[in-house]
């Protein structure tokens, strides 16, 4: 695993997230479920708690955008870059952007939103990429069965380096 330079992390354990918009590729309820399931992966192995808010500011703003979208990392159309997220911090910090030019699904017919969101939220919490093939923080998208998905050990080790273990 790796962290960002100087290992930025959240100094609180209760984090708020807000879904700013939806992809037309999926039912909103399926987007909600994929996002919540992705957060649960990280909260199940750390003291972190994630609460969804529906208006105003939040620590992590989640949006579906295409091409140039106001940060320095424009998306590139179908394929290539799928999504990105910023390390913990004020403003953009923690925010996750998903490329609307991709085809997002709750199964494996397109890019599985749960898998990509879980990866991006790893960045939102302070993890960088891992070179361990099969780890969640591996940079390339690997189609993986998502039913009963368990966080690979390399990712557990990484996130617990930043936030410690889940409370007993």
């Amino acid at each position: 695993f790796s962290t960002f330079p100087r290992s930025p992390r959240w100094t609180k354990t209760d984090l708020k997230y807000r879904i700013l918009n939806y992809t037309p590729d999926m039912e909103p309820a399926d987007v909600d479920e994929a996002i919540e399931k992705a957060w649960n992966l990280w909260s199940s192995v750390t003291p972190l708690k994630f609460t969804r808010v529906y208006e105003g500011n939040a620590d992590i703003m989640i949006s579906f955008v295409a091409g140039f979208h106001g940060d320095f990392f424009s998306f590139d159309g179908p394929g290539g870059t799928l999504a990105h997220a910023f390390p913990p911090g004020e403003g953009f910090g923690g925010d996750a952007h998903f490329d609307e030019d991709e085809y997002w699904t709750k199964d494996l017919k397109g890019f599985n939103l749960f898998l990509v969101a879980a990866h991006e939220f790893g960045h939102s919490l302070g993890l960088g990429h891992s070179n361990v093939l099969g780890s969640l923080m591996y940079p390339a998208y690997l189609q993986t069965e998502t039913r009963n998905y368990r966080l690979p050990q390399d990712d557990v080790d990484g996130i617990q380096t930043l936030y410690g273990k889940e409370e007993a």
């Binding site: 870059t81 991006e120 070179n131 940079p139 998208y141």
Partner: protein, 83 residues
């Protein structure tokens, strides 16, 4: 003009793709930033080696088919080194 053989054109396109990939994910400095060119940029072969090492590929510094295949995989937009 001499007709550029298809393979040469393909190689050129692959190299351009690879350069963009390495700029984005491995901090390759290109012509666009000449000041860095002098200071601390490593030639593209070093950056290809760095990427091959990260992905556990055979470290050759050459843009071989395996390396290109990994570069073309859909992925996260965050750099792999020195974010």
């Amino acid at each position: 003009f001499p007709v550029v053989p298809e393979t040469e054109k393909k190689n050129e396109e692959d190299m351009q793709f690879a350069e963009k990939y390495l700029e984005k994910y491995y901090k390759l400095k290109t012509e666009a930033e000449p000041i860095f060119k002098m200071k601390n940029s490593k030639p593209i072969t070093d950056k290809i080696r760095e990427m091959q090492e990260f992905f556990g590929l055979k470290v050759t510094g050459e843009l071989d088919s395996n390396t290109l295949k990994v570069m073309k995989q859909p992925r996260c937009g965050i750099p792999d080194v020195g974010q």
